[in-house]
Symmetry: C2
Subunit: 253 residues, 2 copies
């Protein structure tokens, strides 16, 4: 999975580095990039012109930026996913019903990727965006998914990404994680008690198809609005129902 390329194409790597850097900075000029990446100006110019000619980069005056071509490709990938098409309207509905912030997430490369996001009436304002990635172990959706993945996959993911802590409550040991996953499996839903952001609690339910997890939906709300005895929360029932609808509709596709 995380194998290193035996014969990496260095030129391509340079282009990708430039893309990364433009992404990080939200656009930059040639001189800046040359200084930062210690490459020659001409090299950078050649790469950026090539990327521009192919529509991956746009030039505004003297600064180069990544183009919306990325959104095109990404949006196309998403719209071609059956799960997404089935989940999208249900996420909207759940946001309306619960009034909170609802996400639909899938796993890729050991991280969670947000595919939909819908805000209810009193939803909190998180800085998530469609497409953004988040570690699995420090989120409710991540634990919902992990709890139904074979142990070997879970190991791979931990090996690859570690268990970085984001808040004081983040799970940082394998044993603790496996315990939590065990409890998650029993309960059928996962929780995040300020493990990714202080003041925020989340509840998530896995979405399964042919006995494989294909994603998870989650509700996020301020700690004050999610009671201490999680299981009795109305959100749990709403999530369960929504997850179920998605699973059933998925079979019809």
């Amino acid at each position: 999975m995380e194998k290193r390329a035996k014969h990496p194409v260095r030129t391509t790597e340079k282009s990708l580095t430039l893309i990364d850097e433009l992404n990080r900075r939200g656009g930059a000029r040639i001189t800046t990039l040359a200084d930062e990446l210690s490459m020659g100006k001409s090299a950078i110019h050649n790469h950026l012109s090539t990327l521009e000619e192919h529509g991956f980069v746009v030039k505004n005056g003297n600064t180069y930026e990544l183009s919306l071509r990325f959104l095109d490709i990404g949006g196309q990938l998403r719209s071609e996913m059956d799960v997404y098409r089935v989940a999208e309207p249900q996420v909207e509905a759940l946001a309306e019903e619960s009034g909170e912030l609802v996400h639909f997430v899938v796993e890729e490369g050991g991280e969670g990727v947000y595919l939909c996001r819908a805000k209810g009436e009193r939803a909190v304002d998180l800085d998530t965006y469609v497409g953004c990635r988040h570690p699995m172990h420090s989120s409710a959706f991540g634990k919902a998914i992990l709890s139904h993945l074979p142990d070997q996959r879970v190991e791979e993911i931990i090996d690859r990404h570690g268990l970085p802590s984001v808040t004081p409550k983040t799970i940082t040991s394998r044993d603790e994680l496996y315990d939590t996953l065990e409890r998650t499996r029993e309960r059928g839903f996962a929780v995040d008690d300020e493990e990714r952001l202080e003041g925020l609690r989340c509840i998530a339910a896995p979405i399964r198809f042919d006995s494989e997890v294909i994603g998870a939906i989650s509700i996020s709300a301020p700690t004050a609005r999610i009671d201490d005895d999680w299981a009795e929360n109305e959100f749990v029932e709403q999530l369960r129902r929504t997850a179920n609808v998605i699973e059933l509709n998925k079979y019809k596709v």
Copy 2:
């Protein structure tokens, strides 16, 4: 704008060609790609491994696919655009109010890029997705934007993309286009009468900031639900109001 790179980086071009091809096919195996693009298998393997190592490609068994990394980058670009953040809630509201399909679009590289999409109660089911691109001359949003772009920009765009026809009613001559843009400017809104899809009509209003167009919002509905005397349509007023709210809120950012 559409300058050709004087010193294209051929290796990067090969990688980009592979990305295009994977995008077109929605994933492919090495042998297929080698046959299709007449490149050696080892070359393809090297490129794909490199792209995989950097997270732009994922391997499922023997088939390689583009990764959701593209959605990540694209989503980030979008979420960092002030217009988007301001327009998004208004698009939702307009969809609810009108009951139809509402889009928010910006121009990039001479094409329209859909940034938001919201469906009202009885919205038609178009195959647009967030990030998808559409020619400017054969859509209401495109004409709304073109009508406020300097003539020279319009010329550039026509030179670059031509005026391909999509339906029998698509505008295909420069004169006709300029006439329509003139009328669009006078009226303050643009229309599309089955010019991009038979049976579909759209109305669009430009969104301006500091006397520059920065995008457009549009309502799409079946021909039957948009009356022949466009200006008296309730959608026109709704669009005007929404466009205005977006423009005003944009100043606060």
